[in-house]
């Protein structure tokens, strides 16, 4: 991890017009994610986490402030960033390998290179035997791994992950978390992970940022000082995990608010 800043939000504010009045989703958000760092963003529903992700990927422009990726101001979709959502967004008419190649195909990478990259990723994610299958023939966990492969295939420097594992069962989630952690480490990728799962935030990240209720602001920043960031299963058993989770619960006022 170097001190180079890969992803930065500078004084980002986002307002939406809703029912005739202006609604502030996020207010004055400053985030800087260093090269190779994994930062989690947690906060109550509707606090504007996904808005920040859309701004980072260039799909929406902030009302105020700017986002930067690799030192360049984000003014639209760009090849440095790729995102992954809770929904796998696989195309049912494409086989697994064709789905993985979707992004590189759009970006105009040569066919032989596309296939080479996709095959390498499928092997890394233990999907090589399924490259000719269609999405409906796969389990939810496998589909999400294909989505991860598609995200990595465009070789982004920054990954924006919006609750990527919240739709899979608990055991599959742990396996996927470990695969993500290992992949990020191996490829040296920078990631911003949005999650509701406090344990996921603690075990996968170098830092956790806590957002307030709307209008969303960053109200706390917690550095996770536990070794083995590439092995969340091992991290789970570390004695300090409970302390971090408790602090997050405290900051989120969990227990104080009705669910």
């Amino acid at each position: 991890m170097s001190d180079l800043i890969r992803l930065e939000y500078r004084d980002v504010t986002m307002r939406f017009a809703q029912a005739g009045q202006s609604l502030t989703a996020v207010q004055g958000v400053n985030i800087a994610v260093r090269d190779g760092e994994v930062v989690s963003l947690i906060g109550p529903s509707g606090c504007g986490k996904s808005t920040l992700l859309n701004i980072g990927s260039g799909l929406t422009a902030p009302s105020e402030g700017q986002a930067f990726v690799d030192g360049e101001r984000v003014e639209g979709p760009n090849a440095h960033v790729a995102f992954m959502l809770q929904k796998d967004l696989l195309l049912p008419w494409r086989t697994v390998i064709e789905n993985v190649m979707f992004g590189v195909e759009i970006q105009g990478v040569a066919p032989a290179e596309r296939r080479r990259r996709a095959q390498a990723l499928l092997e890394n994610l233990k999907l090589a035997d399924f490259s000719g299958h269609y999405p409906h023939q796969l389990s939810g966990g496998m589909r999400q791994r294909v989505a991860l492969a598609r995200t990595l295939a465009v070789d982004p420097t920054v990954l924006l992950l919006d609750e990527p594992f919240s739709a899979v069962d608990a055991q599959t989630r742990m396996v996927l978390q470990r695969e993500l952690a290992q992949t990020l480490k191996r490829a040296g990728k920078t990631a911003l992970l949005i999650t509701h799962d406090l344990l996921e935030a603690v075990t996968l990240s170098d830092r956790v940022l806590v957002m307030s209720r709307r209008p969303g602001r960053i109200i706390d920043e917690i550095a996770i000082d536990i070794p083995d960031r590439d092995d969340p299963l091992k991290r789970r058993t570390h004695p300090n995990v409970a302390g971090y989770v408790n602090r997050l619960m405290d900051r989120l006022d969990i227990g104080a608010v009705p669910a």
Partner: protein, 264 residues
């Protein structure tokens, strides 16, 4: 569902289906006689079969069937192409949809077969007015299905493509068009059967060609068996068109899970 129980469903289903056919044909042959229904109301199966043979040799049954089939195919293909094209065009432009939807709705509500006499006034006793009615009637289910499909593509899918810097054309060809194919085929299935309706109405209204003409001719002669033959042939033409759509659909949509595409 396991393969074993699946194949037993197919077996039993086929057996029941065939038995029903035998029962139906037997009832047609002997039912009218037993119930005292005269042959000019319901002619028995054998009479209808004899009439079909007579019409084949004397009335040019093959010729008229061929004319009707050609009109159905031409009307179906042109109507589908037009419906799909307009569906995609309107689907890509919310402004166009907003501006055109009242007229489309009005045309959709208007009974298309009522245009048949008008088209015959315009184009005479040729095959063209029949094809035109078929085009008009096939157009709507195809267009509406395509339009709805384009409207309901998951916006996150579009955003995914946009995040990869896809152009508008890439979004259409790589996402919207393939996503619209299952509903398009649902529309084509409906269209293939409606094309027959359009053609027959056109033929009934005027002209001296096609199964609709034989139908009207048989009626004029009080030849009930002839009417039955025409109805059976029309059903065969419609069935063939429908089957053709299904066969193409199964090739194009091969990626769908098998059970999502129960054939008939």
């Amino acid at each position: 569902m396991s393969d074993a129980s699946n194949s037993s469903v197919v077996w039993r289903g086929t057996a029941v289906s065939l038995s029903l056919l035998v029962v139906f044909l037997a009832a047609w042959q002997w039912g009218p006689g037993l119930l005292g229904i005269p042959p000019f109301i319901i002619p028995p199966l054998s009479t209808v079969a004899n009439e079909a043979v007579r019409m084949w040799h004397v009335s040019g049954l093959a010729y008229h069937t061929g004319i009707t089939a050609a009109e159905v195919i031409a009307g179906f293909i042109l109507g589908s192409l037009l419906g799909a094209f307009i569906g995609y065009l309107i689907g890509m432009s919310p402004t166009a949809e907003f501006a055109l939807s009242p007229y489309i709705l009005a045309l959709q509500i208007a009974p298309k077969v009522a245009f048949a006499p008008l088209f015959i006034l315009w184009m005479g006793f040729t095959v063209y007015p029949k094809i035109l009615v078929a085009i008009l009637i096939v157009f709507f289910p195809v267009m509406v299905n395509v339009l709805t499909a384009i409207r309901t593509v998951d916006p996150d899918l579009i955003n995914l493509a946009r995040a990869f810097k896809a152009t508008r054309a890439q979004i259409f060809w790589k996402i919207e068009f393939p996503a619209s194919l299952p509903p398009l085929f649902a529309g084509l299935r409906i269209g293939s059967t409606l094309a027959v309706v359009g053609v027959v109405v056109g033929e009934l209204v005027g002209g001296n060609m096609g199964l609709g003409y034989l139908l009207a001719f048989g009626e004029g002669q009080a030849n009930t068996a002839m009417v039955f033959v025409a109805i059976v042939m029309l059903t065969l033409v419609g069935g063939a068109a429908y089957l053709l759509v299904i066969l193409i659909e199964q090739r194009v949509l091969h990626y769908l899970p098998k059970r999502a595409m129960s054939g008939f």
